[in-house]
Symmetry: C2
């Protein structure tokens, strides 16, 4: 048997762990049946685009030791590269589907695993449907990943826990940094998540460690008012000398076009400015205190040196489970994580859902977990997030820096 | 005997390790002489300002266990708070000097330790000179700290190694993140250091781990030309699909006033934009490729979860040495770190220098270590930086996040 695996969408710290999960499950199954059914695994570069171009990596040739597999598992970003390409509808361009089928058949691929988010599940749904209609037996399985935690059908998404751990740990350090002076100050942390506020909400985790901060949390799921924001800050400053705010990049600002590119510098260049910088200036103008904004930027999705061990374990597990699904003859589905309820401790089991019901849908942060004022989250959120960031993954160090896996070819 | 310790200036990951060094040395000396000469240590809040206001913390009451001392040692930022206050010249306001002397004498302080950078050494020099002129026997000792590494008389400064380790590790992860797509792209990392490029230059450390990035490095020590910058980027893009650039916040841009606040948004707010955002827009306009800028912001100085063990050890050592200097009767000096030359391995010994010769002087990055084009550093820089980031400091974890020390009172 032959498997092909590709990675797609924005990188995370855990997406290589899912690749490793698929690879290890294939190797272990090959060994189990005494090589009567050996499974080889091909790595596909740059997602579905690389599949069409036959940009392949022979994983068994590259992963020559357990140490290398372990290194790949904890290396951030997509080791196979990624793409931002979505299959168009069959009616729009059938030739792409024929091309993919041709390549899969030519290379004797029995199952194609696509590790990605929303858009990737759209590709999984479309491609599996078309292959089935063509009478092909090739299976297409979706493996979830996104730091946004916004896929439906799953308790949470692989990659999210590590991002949440990074954001919480970084904000905790920023809280220490911002509270050293006597002068009142405001610090605004802008956090990723255009459509869903999960990652921004997860900053409530600091309170599990006895911090009061963040004093205010703003999510895209709740209407945002600059007047209310300034009022909230002023109220928080009555009780706290150093106010720390978590704000999602996805909140809707008034005249949002204007704050992004409405201004030009001396050379006529349009300025780019995010939500954080905008709110920083708003506080400076309206309150006049010391204020700083911090954009956590791509570090949120690539800071593997403090990945969550729980996240990496689960990411490997969903990869392994995807192999089981393929061997069961499933296709067009995505692996999901289900949290066992009714038990005190945290326990996860895998299941699956039709990829078509995941594609193009955003699972937003529950309205019931946002306070009435729309500037904080409730205790339930802490309980939900806390298990996801548990455990540390020690990087393999060389020269005082982590060693990263890179494919040689 | 009674010591007073204060912290000043911008926070670092290692400034509490120096506080611990002073505290431990005092405790150990007290024990050594069988309490015939016990030394108590008072923590002063918010630097010299807190000294004048007698904002004190009794360290022996707060640091009740070895675990707490260890926790303080690896907690980022200034646990005692900080200030941005410089003593004016005696001629300008003698009353402040009288006030400081009054407080020191009233509290029977024999030695005052000031952990800080450039400005703090100015205070050390002025205060010790005045006290001596008054016939006072109170010693004033400067303990260096700054992530900028720009103090003269010392091989490097405590706090710098941890910042360099953070910057290198983060850039390495950003390199992984930025290279996943097929499209050519440019990533610009803006790094702290207004007057000296040490921290930006330290990104060359990635090459010790087999990375090619950063492909370009720009320091304030070399003239900056936007025309040359665009040309450099274009040339780098001929050989690398994903170009990663390290740029100091301190480079001089044309019309620098304009790019910082010359533009207004739709509400008439002035935009704040740093060097990174400016260069991002320049690349977008002139080259038109995918481009992103990343400001490493205060994380550079507070990311204690990946502090350099070498840095924390040395920071504690300079604190201990400061106590030795005070007991020897020294005053008005700053502890320095001297690198043993002529031996293959890295070894540091402590010495001291007059604080007056450190104050108001910036030690810039050596011109001889910058290449002719002014867009990279030489091999000597890697050799200089590499020992400073060695060793890891494991945070004490609680709930998946580091535990931080905070004074109870």
């Amino acid at each position: 048997m032959r498997f092909a695996v590709a990675q797609s969408g924005g990188p995370t710290c855990a997406i290589n762990a899912s690749l490793v999960g698929i690879y290890k499950a294939a190797v272990e199954m090959s060994n189990k049946v005494h090589n009567r059914l050996p499974i080889s695994v091909i790595g596909v570069r740059n997602g579905i685009q690389g599949l069409m171009d036959e940009q392949f990596v022979d994983l068994s040739c590259e992963l020559t030791s357990a140490e290398m597999v372990d290194l790949l598992r904890k290396t951030p970003s997509t080791a196979l590269g990624s793409c931002r390409f979505r299959l168009p509808a069959v009616e729009q361009d059938e030739s792409l589907y024929r091309k993919v089928q041709y390549v899969l058949q030519k290379n004797a691929i029995d199952a194609f695993f696509y590790i990605g988010g929303n858009d990737s599940m759209d590709t999984v749904a479309k491609l599996s449907k078309w292959l089935t209609e063509q009478g092909s037996n090739i299976r297409v399985i979706g493996v979830p990943k996104t730091i946004d935690n916004d896929l439906v059908g799953t308790d949470h998404t692989p990659g999210f826990g590590s991002a949440a751990k990074y954001v919480a740990m970084t904000m905790q350090e920023v809280v220490r940094d911002s509270s050293v002076y006597r002068l009142p100050s405001v610090t605004i942390c802008e956090i990723m998540g255009r459509d869903a506020g999960w990652l921004t909400a997860s900053t409530c985790l600091l309170r599990a460690n006895g911090e009061v901060a963040p004093h205010l949390i703003y999510l895209p799921e709740h209407e945002f008012s600059t007047v209310q924001f300034v009022h909230d800050i002023q109220k928080a400053m009555e009780n706290h000398r150093s106010v720390v705010v978590a704000v999602s990049e996805g909140i809707t600002l008034p005249h949002s076009a204007a704050y992004r590119s409405g201004a030009n510098d001396a050379f006529g260049h349009a300025y780019l400015s995010g939500v954080g910088k905008y709110l920083e200036q708003l506080v400076r103008d309206e309150i006049g205190c010391k204020v700083r904004s911090i954009e956590l930027n791509v570090m949120q999705r690539c800071a593997a040196h403090l990945a969550s061990a729980t996240d990496l374990d689960e990411s490997e597990t969903v990869g392994r489970y995807a192999v089981e699904l393929a061997l069961q003859g499933q296709s067009g589905c995505m692996v999901t994580l289900q949290r066992d309820t009714g038990i005190a401790s945290y326990r996860i089991t895998c299941s699956h859902i039709a990829a078509s019901s995941v594609a193009n849908v955003t699972r937003t942060f529950p309205a019931a977990w946002i306070n009435n004022e729309g500037n904080d989250v409730t205790e339930e959120a802490i309980d939900y997030f806390l298990p996801l960031i548990q455990g540390e993954v020690l990087p393999t160090m060389r020269n005082g820096m982590p060693e990263h896996f890179r494919f040689a070819t």
